[in-house]
Amino acid sequence: MVAMSQGLDQDVLVVKDLRVVFHTYAGEVKALDGVDLTVRRKEVLGLVGESGSGKSVTALTIEGLLPQNGEVVSGQIILAGNDLLKESSADLRISRVTDMAMVFQDPTTYLNPVLTVGSQITEIIESEAKLFTKQVIADRLIELDRLEGEGRITPVLEKERAKLKSLSSGAKISKREFKRLSRLYAINILRQVRLPEPERIFKDYPFELSGGMKQRAMIAMALVRRPKLFLADEITTALDVTVQAQILKLLTELREQIDTSVILITHDLAIVAEVCDRVAVMYAGNIVEVADVNELFRNPLHPYTKGLLASIPRPDLKEQEMKSIRGSVPNLIFPPSGCRFHPRCDFAFERCPLEKPKLLEVSKGHFVACFLYEGGQA
């Protein structure tokens, strides 16, 4: 289940010491205060936190979608070897199309209501025709091979296959042919996200789809580019629990089919437990704990993680004592000194308000940012 031995080749994403500040009239919001994160190949990393933790800001920074008053003060974001923060905006746009994709919480606001679903997908493909030509042809060839395997190939399709095969070695195709192939490719992707009757959905407008179907369409739009990194920001929060189950299952299936890594951003630890390989817990702009999912739930180390796990109501247990974390999330304009969690921590001691703890590896693959664990003691 856990991608520990595989994926030791190049990490897909490495974020080092990322600091992001928002300039507002109330003051400077120190949203991210030195975030370190790695995502391995084909892994699903859960990024967990409550409001103000900075999990969405991290994703937006990676995608380059910070609002105007946001500023990356320092840090590196290395996606497949390239530092995104050092790229020109033209290169960054290409990266956004080919290397990473993001899906947000509310599919209704992110889908253009006056365009059909299909046209919104083909728009992505056609916007970067050069990049997609090979992929589109390759996908069609796979489809044709599959049809042959099923014995459903006709002379017309046979001819098409031969022609495409001769093309795939770098020759150009006509615009019309490209449009046709794009359309077929888009329908295929809609099928991959388990939308029933994909040809019909291709022609539908967003308002004709339900919430779950719209979210699948959004995932389809993200997967069109076969991204190396897929950022899912609270994608099931607005959905019913039965629909959420379907989407989560889809994510795990897709992870197998496509060589993609997923950062699953959520406040819901239960989702993380069901779907993720590793988990990173964020609080007030810092990563406070990272571990393999089984390890995190079995042996949480950071006081915040412990508090969070203790406060989740469990549907499978009878009445439990509901514990909560005292206090509330700090104002990031005037964050607490030292460890940002210390005002709410039951285990805080003298060092905590003075210094900021670093994220250190306490046991294999388990990182904590807490002075309780420095020097290897628990």
Binding site: Y25, A26, E50, S51, V329
Partner: protein, 305 residues
């Protein structure tokens, strides 16, 4: 939907508003003009002897003698030794003094009109939106009737029938002005009444009147406030237009439109009369207009609560 961490503090909102304000030169100009106008209106009787307005010396002494402009119009009566910065009118009164005396009058009429129109319009519009159904339809249709008639024509007709006084003038303009506020507050209330806090109040047992006038209307009043500020300028224009057409009680009364009216006869011989009164009308209405625009730009929709 997840909650946000710290809500913006009130001083932050104000600081942002002031910053936006400062950034926009038009707003600054508008504010300066509007505030200046109001100050002049308040202190007019101190600056200028109010009796000047009632001068009945019909000894026509139209002249201009402004040393700043090296300009003597020869085919005009002589001034004697006094300096009139903006010239005199046909009754020998300093145009500058007349303008200063006219401002409080115009501003007063404008404020009366706007406040009355707001009160009437908000009252009917809020009820129409909150009650819905037949009441809404009826009020809307009545509003439509008034909107369909061209404002100035209606005002003229009323003035002709009812006579020429400033109260009738105010009344005539209010009649044509209130429908806009009905529409404005109605659309706001329609949206506001669906908000959860209204439901909460209903669940608590609050009556409809209380909910409407103590809660919904105060939360909906913002665009009305903006429009009212804009309208002060527009009303001054309308008043001046009507008095220019001759609908004031007496041509002697210092009022901007009146002065312009008097000046229209002498437009080629003594152009300063109409120029300065006209420019004043323009500047004042522009000032309030810019101020209203500025308030809208700065506060809306960021602080829309």
């Amino acid at each position: 939907m997840k909650t946000e961490p710290g809500p913006p503090s009130r001083s932050a909102d104000l600081r942002y508003a002031l910053h936006r304000f400062r950034q926009n030169p038009l707003i600054i100009a508008g504010s300066v003009i509007s505030i200046g106008t109001i100050l002049i209106a308040i202190f007019a009787n101190v600056i200028v002897n109010p009796k000047l307005g009632r001068s009945t010396d019909l000894d026509l002494r139209l002249c201009w003698n402004n040393p700043a402009l090296n300009w003597h119009i020869t085919n005009v009566f002589n001034c004697g030794g006094t300096v009139y910065p903006l010239g005199t009118d046909t009754y020998g009164r300093s145009v500058l003094s007349m303008i200063i005396l006219a401002i409080p009058l115009d501003l007063q009429i404008a404020l009366e009109v706007v406040i009355s129109a707001v009160v009437i319009g908000v009252f009917f519009g809020a009820i129409a939106a909150y009650a819905g159904g037949v009441i809404d339809e009826v009020i809307l249709r009545i509003t439509d009737i008034f909107l369909a008639v061209p404002a100035i024509l209606l005002a003229i007709v009323l003035l002709v029938i009812l006579g020429r006084s400033f109260s009738i003038l105010t009344f005539a303009i209010v009649i044509t002005w209130w429908p806009t506020y009905v529409r404005l507050i109605r659309s706001q209330v329609l949206g506001e009444k669906e908000k959860p806090y209204v439901e909460g109040l209903r669940a608590m047992g609050a009556g409809r009147v209380r909910i409407l006038f103590r809660h919904v209307v105060p939360n909906s009043i913002y665009p009305v406030f903006v429009q009212a500020t804009l309208d002060i300028g527009s009303v001054i224009l309308t008043v001046s237009a009507l008095t220019f057409l001759g609908f004031s009680p007496s041509p002697l009364i210092p009022e901007l439109g009146n002065l312009a009216n008097a000046g229209s006869t002498y437009i080629f011989t003594a152009p300063w009369l109409i120029i300065f009164s006209g420019v004043t009308i323009l500047v004042i209405s522009l000032g309030f207009n810019l101020l209203g625009d500025g308030i809208r730009d700065v506060f809306d929709p960021r602080l829309r609560r």
